[in-house]
Symmetry: C2
Subunit: 302 residues, 2 copies
């Protein structure tokens, strides 16, 4: 999709996440059905320490999504004061279970725990959200195998769904976190975009963004992308989920600016955030299929 001149009668296209999620869920549900018919019940192991509101809210959405596509959810709920060893034991138990095909471990873990070390306990083939070094290295190297972080992949899923061809496009990712900015940049690079990673130390962000065909805003701050940052007809993917000065949910991009200047944009809420649990469910179905195929192979070898 090229740039276009925007006018009052020519508003930006709103690329909502709902359709993307529905499309993906449909495919996941079909795959899950196939597995169930073959005697495998795809199951996700959710490990949660404590009762943080954000975790509970995400978990609720995840459980709903999983039920919708036929994935069983098995929860491992640990008290806030669980020992590091206690948590490691649970991760190992879930790793070892052939009935559980993927793991979601809520982060951050309680202070004082060796989070990086604990995450490495997760078997790479059950690592649904790219928390192990093996998965992270795979995303960095652009190799197949290993799942990308769900939110970063949701960005790509939206672009794919709405038919955006990244090849040769200038993409600017604002934000350099290991969970979103950097992996999103690598996924865009794998789709042949020319990718720039911008951040808090970038000089003249508005000038840089005006040159971009595609902007992925993942700074985690409202008003990161303002009217002066936008040219005409650009594509904007807003990964930010912030609460603004009026207590309202808002992205990193100013809404008025994107509505009048962008060629297409993802809203907040209802954009990237609406797709992430669908990506997680898709990963789980893929992991279950891979593990059952492997199990089948092993049987054959015996």
């Amino acid at each position: 999709m090229g740039r276009r001149a925007a006018g009052k009668e020519d508003m930006a296209q709103k690329w909502t996440g709902k359709e993307v999620a529905q499309d993906l869920d449909q495919k996941t549900a079909a795959e899950v059905s196939r597995l169930i018919e073959a005697g495998i019940q795809p199951t996700i192991g959710v490990i949660r320490v404590g009762e943080k509101a954000a975790d509970l809210s995400y978990e609720k959405g995840l459980v709903k999504r999983c039920e919708k596509v036929g994935i069983r959810v098995e929860k491992f709920l640990l008290p806030e004061d669980v020992s590091e060893q206690g948590l490691r034991d649970v991760v190992r138990e879930v790793n070892a279970s052939p009935q559980i095909h993927g793991i979601l471990l809520f982060r951050p873990l309680p202070k004082g725990m060796d989070e990086h070390g604990i995450l490495q306990e997760i078997a790479p083939e059950k690592d649904l959200d790219c928390v192990t070094d093996a998965s992270l290295a795979g995303v960095f190297a652009g190799k197949a195998g290993g799942f990308a972080p769900c939110t970063a992949e949701a960005v790509i899923r939206i672009l794919d769904y709405y038919g955006y061809d990244c090849t040769g496009k200038r993409a600017v990712v604002v934000g350099r976190s290991t969970v979103i900015g950097k992996p999103a940049a690598m996924l865009l690079l794998a789709k042949n975009a020319t990718v720039t990673i911008a951040h808090t130390r970038t000089r003249d962000l508005p000038a840089l963004l005006r040159e971009a065909d595609l902007i992925v805003a993942a700074a985690g701050h409202p008003h990161t992308v303002t009217r002066e940052c936008l040219g005409m007809g650009q594509t904007l993917v807003d990964v930010g989920i912030n609460v603004d000065e009026n207590g309202k949910l808002t992205g990193d991009v100013d809404r008025e600016a994107e509505e009048t200047l962008a060629g297409a944009y993802t809203p907040v809420p209802g954009g990237v955030g609406a797709v992430t649990t669908s990506v997680l469910a898709a990963h789980l179905a893929e992991a279950a299929a891979a593990q059952s195929a492997q199990g089948g192979d092993q049987k054959k070898c015996q």
Copy 2:
């Protein structure tokens, strides 16, 4: 260093690797002396399969560099037709040896071997050239611990030595390989440059490069960066080592263009390539120091 207007009397600065290597070797030699006095002989294990000319040439340079700074080299030479298991056994043996502090395994390995799997056998603390997923994930995440790929780090060492401050600069890395382009981009990002990764599918590379303050050419093709790609007074780091149509060693950047238009540039040969083995030696000294400190701690605990 800012841009400047270049004229005939105002040639570009040539940033040669020799001084950078000497400076680094001096520090490495001091660290090695300190370790030897403490009863530890820093030792690198070089594992080579077959007799490829490029490997032998690199090894020769490496041995010379190691001798210069006091590092002992232990070679493990395997025939081209070694079995995968045979190679794995050697890697494990070197891993297990407390007398060897780091491993260099020449690549590519013979066809048919599971190179990725074999590389993962290397203990992360002995991984001098970022071949394990743990090291690669560390570079991607911008975490301390784990060594960066030597060539990518050589780029940074040169910039540091000549006092180039990356903060806020627009850097364009041409090339997206996992051994050079991508890790160089991550290291520049960690130094607060705004980094763009360009590649063969980039549209209008000359226009993109003209906007850059710093160009890191790591495409592996001569004439990648030509006169039309350059503005005035830019900083150019040339990672390419190519043989041109006349059989002469040449970088990715056209020499005449860099000499007349750049503010500063690294030559080929004598630039980045002259620094890589010094970086490897520095990694080995650091690994030896870390392992001896750990050994000391373990003793204390007993």
